[in-house]
């Protein structure tokens, strides 16, 4: 199957680079002003100070609890009659699935047939802003709807139902055994490719490339589902299911099968089902309606649930943490200077950043182990702590992107009326122009700092829950916390630093310089220097 993909991927890689400004984050320029220096310093100080709150909550506790991570308060929304009727409605579900598949097809069609201008076409705004940023936020702050509406999954299920009706009893799945050692590595690789497309690939905002990439990925997903089975591939290789699943651990809602024993047989990926079968989507789908719970719970507690991490699982989280920072880092003057001085291609940063993050993470985990006098493999510690960093990444992601969603996301109002850019006006909104001033800079700055500091506090809290689990003795748990606290402060300050840097917009003129009119030699030296605002 892999060999079959090569001829599809090769022409894509050889596509001529379009002379377009290389915009970071796929499409859409953020108008945010860099954080002023004093607020950056304040944020850093506040992160250190605020860390004492979660720590003091624990230091007085007598006993650590093996069960503590499972014992959080929750409320089953399905107990409310009205909500039960709405949330379990088959009509609503079918409607959502039809909408999702419709949008999927619209992205492909507008990409292939529509006007090749990111401002006039539905695909770039929808994919990069509404879906990638918007659905990410929704998953982290409301709950994970991706398993319900994932168009690749829905289309596969429909195709399979059709094939079965036509008489093929075995359906579409070959169910080859998935090599256990692969773990999440296919998702790690795909996430890396995705971040490259988003931040480095110059054609990321060109509609036709988006369509081609979506189709290429579709071949891969459906290939994976056919060979290894739908559920296995969704858990291991469908990178967006894995990514949204990670964010869903942060979410204030969870799906749970009431009796853990019902989950025992259905999957090896549901984690420690004895302590509750949570967010195990395939088990949930199979459970009888009366055994299903849709719980409200405190945000982020899902990240403290100890669960077996598959091979590549720790690295996947690290790649996500690095990928979130990569986008902002690309636009900083420091990175641009480094790149100029050593003439590094962007890809170097893409590969190096997760490795640096991973090395730093392992170093601090080792220190934490030494401080606490813990025994056992580094691997166990690394797997236990990794999810506790996610809140900082979520907070940074929101701080970094929410204005993009609010400002550039308005573009979708225009695109729904004229998705192809052919001059249609379905809903009378084709002439809508984006209002860049929805949120003022001062509010943006304060909210960014508040978000990042809040994410940091939650992360410190989670790390301490983990420590209590790893070390029986609260004193040792507290000592082991110090290196993790240092790591978290480091990551938080790094996040703040990125948003305090003046944004350097990479000028594609550098790469397309040979196109300059020969009769009028361009001052190459000048072109090489991207305009760089003074650092305050």
């Amino acid at each position: 199957m892999r060999r079959a993909l090569v001829p599809i991927l090769t022409p894509l890689l050889l596509l001529p680079l379009v002379p377009q400004p290389a915009l970071a984050h796929g499409f859409g320029q953020s108008y945010d002003l860099p954080l002023p220096l004093w607020l950056y310093l304040y944020g850093a100080g506040a992160a250190v100070l605020a860390s004492f709150v979660p720590i003091s909550l624990f230091s007085g506790k007598r006993k650590s609890g093996e069960d503590a991570p499972y014992l959080y308060s929750r409320f089953d929304l399905l107990r409310i009659k009205f909500l039960r009727a709405v949330l379990t409605s088959q009509t609503l579900l079918l409607g959502l699935r039809l909408l999702s598949v419709g949008l999927f097809l619209l992205v492909v069609l507008t990409g292939l047939l529509g006007r090749q201008n990111a401002d006039a076409n539905f695909a770039p705004t929808f994919v990069w802003i509404i879906w990638w940023v918007g659905l990410g936020f929704f998953t982290a702050f409301v709950g994970n709807v991706w398993p319900l509406v994932n168009p690749w999954k829905v289309l596969f299920e429909w195709a399979e139902a059709l094939v079965r009706r036509l008489g093929a009893r075995n359906g579409l799945e070959l169910r080859e055994p998935y090599p256990a050692s692969w773990g999440l590595w296919p998702s790690v690789a795909l996430y890396g490719v995705f971040v490259w497309v988003e931040n480095v690939f110059p054609g990321s905002s060109t509609p036709v490339y988006i369509a081609v990439l979506v189709l290429t990925y579709s071949v891969l997903v459906w290939g994976g589902m056919v060979v290894y089975g739908k559920e296995t591939w969704l858990r291991r290789g469908e990178v967006f299911s894995v990514f949204f699943g990670l964010l869903a651990r942060f979410a204030p809602t969870e799906v749970r099968v009431r009796y853990p024993k019902l989950c025992r047989g259905c999957s090896d990926a549901c984690g420690t089902v004895e302590k509750g079968c949570v967010n195990c989507y395939e088990c949930f789908a199979r459970a009888a309606p009366e055994d299903r719970e849709l719980n409200l719970r405190p945000p982020a507690v899902g990240l403290s649930r100890p669960e077996p991490v598959p091979p590549g699982g720790v690295f996947f989280v690290i790649v996500v943490l690095a990928g979130v920072a990569f986008d902002g880092l690309l636009e900083t003057p420091l990175w641009n200077e480094l790149r100029r001085d050593f003439s590094l291609p962007q890809v170097v940063g893409l590969v190096a950043l997760p490795l640096v993050f991973f090395a730093v993470y392992l170093g601090f985990v080792k220190l934490s182990q030494l401080f606490g006098g813990g025994t056992g493999g580094l691997r166990r510690f690394a797997a236990a702590y990794v999810y506790s960093l996610v809140p900082i990444a979520v907070a940074y992601q929101v701080a970094h992107y929410y204005t993009l969603l609010l400002v550039q996301g308005q573009g979708i109002i225009r695109h729904v009326s004229d998705p192809f850019g052919w001059g249609w006006d379905f809903f009378g909104t084709a002439g809508y122009s984006i209002d860049p001033g929805v949120v003022g800079a001062a509010f943006v700055w304060y909210s960014q700092v508040a978000l990042i500091v809040a994410g940091h506090v939650v992360a410190v809290y989670l790390a301490h829950l983990v420590a209590l689990r790893l070390f029986e003795d609260p004193g040792r748990a507290l000592r082991s916390q110090l290196p993790m606290l240092a790591l978290m402060i480091l990551y938080t300050v790094f996040s703040l630093w990125i948003i305090s840097q003046p944004i350097v917009i990479e000028d594609q003129a550098v790469e397309t310089a040979p196109q300059e009119d020969a009769a009028q030699p361009a001052p190459i030296e000048k072109l090489r220097e991207p305009p760089m605002p003074d650092i305050p």
């Binding site: 377009q20 945010d32 002003l33 004093w38 709150v53 007085g60 594609q508 361009a522 305009p531």
Partner: protein, 127 residues
């Protein structure tokens, strides 16, 4: 439990104190020639476009200013200001004015509409 309350109170006091200590004094730092804050000022910039870049390449204004860019160029160019989404044709050697009220804060790219190459940046700082 008591200790937690004490820590929370101390942390809140610390956060507040740090904020007041670091925040720049906005009431007295104003430039003496500045008109009162509720009366927007007019700002005029002479901008020359040469060799694919603006000179100056960074225009810094304050929220609420009435900004006028007097654009001159050695070759005809269509200037596009992002965010405010304004376009202005500038013919060679002729001064063209681009005026607008800077009501949205942020940094906005100014580009050559045809090549989509960046010419410069407009910064609108909050008041």
């Amino acid at each position: 439990m008591n200790r937690t309350v004490v820590v929370v109170v101390l942390v809140i006091l610390g956060l507040g104190g740090l904020f007041l200590a670091l925040r720049p004094d906005t009431t007295s730092s104003g430039d003496p020639t500045e008109t009162p804050a509720d009366e927007p000022r007019e700002r005029i910039y002479d901008v020359a476009i040469e060799g694919g870049a603006m000179n100056p390449d960074e225009i810094s204004a304050e929220e609420g200013n009435f900004v006028t860019l007097r654009l001159t160029s050695e070759s005809p160019v269509e200037v596009h200001l992002h965010g405010y989404d304004l376009e202005e044709e500038v013919s060679a050697g002729e001064e063209t004015e681009l005026s607008f009220e800077a009501d949205a804060t942020g940094q906005f790219e100014i580009e050559d509409h045809e090549t989509e190459a960046q010419l410069g940046t407009l910064l609108v700082q909050p008041r």
